[in-house]
Symmetry: C2
Subunit: 222 residues, 2 copies
């Protein structure tokens, strides 16, 4: 089994639970814990430099903001940064976010070894995942794996999200049109924006803009 692992998790309740499980149930001697991505990256570098590198990284995706100014504000950013230099360190994502799209992408691009969903059996899943990764395998929590097959792979891109965000911030459709025109974002006409919103209303089963942003918020899209 691994003997030196780094856990990146902002919620201390969760971090405590995870590291305790690893020590008690998997017998991992050195479990280090940090609540910030920046700090995690520094720890990894230092360990490398000291010739005592970590053998596994377990990280959350989203992190609550803080007083501290941060370079790396998400698990995603942390992973990208690590992969710039180190292609081999096994990484496990452990998150509440049901995001099959990015799970797929990251697994396929060999950027992560496992995607664990913090559900009712999150800890059990994580234990399995660690064992699988140690044996050189991949692991994806059931719920995510199911969704990945079902083509729920969303047809919603960044453009749509930004549209929804602006709406939720109180901008009118025409204001957004002007904004996009100025910023050189295309499509930018009022018509196109209406059309895009109609498609979104279709996908998210909404009658009007109000319900649209409500549903988008429920799905965690914005």
């Amino acid at each position: 089994m691994f003997t030196k692992v780094l856990v990146v998790e902002d919620l201390d309740t969760v971090g405590y639970g995870i590291s305790m499980m690893m020590k008690k149930e998997l017998g991992i001697a050195r479990v280090e814990l940090t609540q910030y991505c920046d700090e995690a990256y520094l720890k990894l570098q230092k360990a490398q430099h000291d010739n005592q590198p970590f053998q596994l990284l377990i990280t959350d995706l989203s992190f609550a903001q803080d007083h501290r100014p941060l370079q790396l504000d998400s698990g995603q950013a942390l992973i990208e940064k690590i992969r710039d230099k180190d292609k081999d360190l096994p990484i496990i994502i452990c998150t509440v976010e049901e995001n099959p799209t990015m799970a797929n992408q990251f697994i396929k691009a060999n950027k992560i070894s496992a995607y664990v969903l913090k559900g009712r059996d999150g800890l059990k899943d994580l234990k399995e995942a660690i064992q699988a990764v140690f044996s050189g395998h991949r692991f994806v929590s059931k719920k995510i794996a199911q969704q990945s097959n079902g083509q729920f792979a969303f047809e919603i891109e960044d453009y749509d999200v930004s549209l929804l965000l602006h709406l939720s911030h109180g901008l009118s459709q025409s204001q957004i049109a002007r904004l996009f025109t100025n910023k050189g974002i295309s499509p930018s006409s009022l018509s196109s924006i209406e059309k895009r919103l109609n498609r979104l209303k279709d996908v998210l089963k909404a009658n009007n803009n109000v319900q649209l942003v409500a549903n988008a918020k429920d799905l965690g899209l914005i």
Copy 2:
């Protein structure tokens, strides 16, 4: 210190962390853990019946859905049910939801003793909260307490919430007016609904209905 505590938490990572902390750092001998509100209620009843009642309940607010059919689908429901019979059991809410409104209401109505936010220092807060509650005091996490000062907690009543809910479900203002008229809810005229929404827009700093429901969702009002 308490000697017998029940923890209701669907995410096993969190539940594990909390119960470990309580055993190790607070020396609480009996920490029982359940992932379902229904089961929690049964456990409380059984313990009472066996003359070995729990001295403290720690519960989450939101619970992921499951295959199981549930009577009590939220921490809120669980608390209400408990308070029907038992007014004395100390209850601590421990959640990620930043909902100062309900924190206030529940604290004021004497329904809970503490509201702990699962943030970076959630576990630390929880420890403090348990100690405070044991000494007969209340406890509310800093972030929530700060927001509670924001005065709107009081100016928003059930009528407003139902208004916002209907909006978020895609009803137009006139549809809501008709609905309220039929149901005999007053005020029910389109004008009054507009007026009420304008007040809400003022309080929640929104330009239009879209931003209004977005903000209401952010605040956990709906």
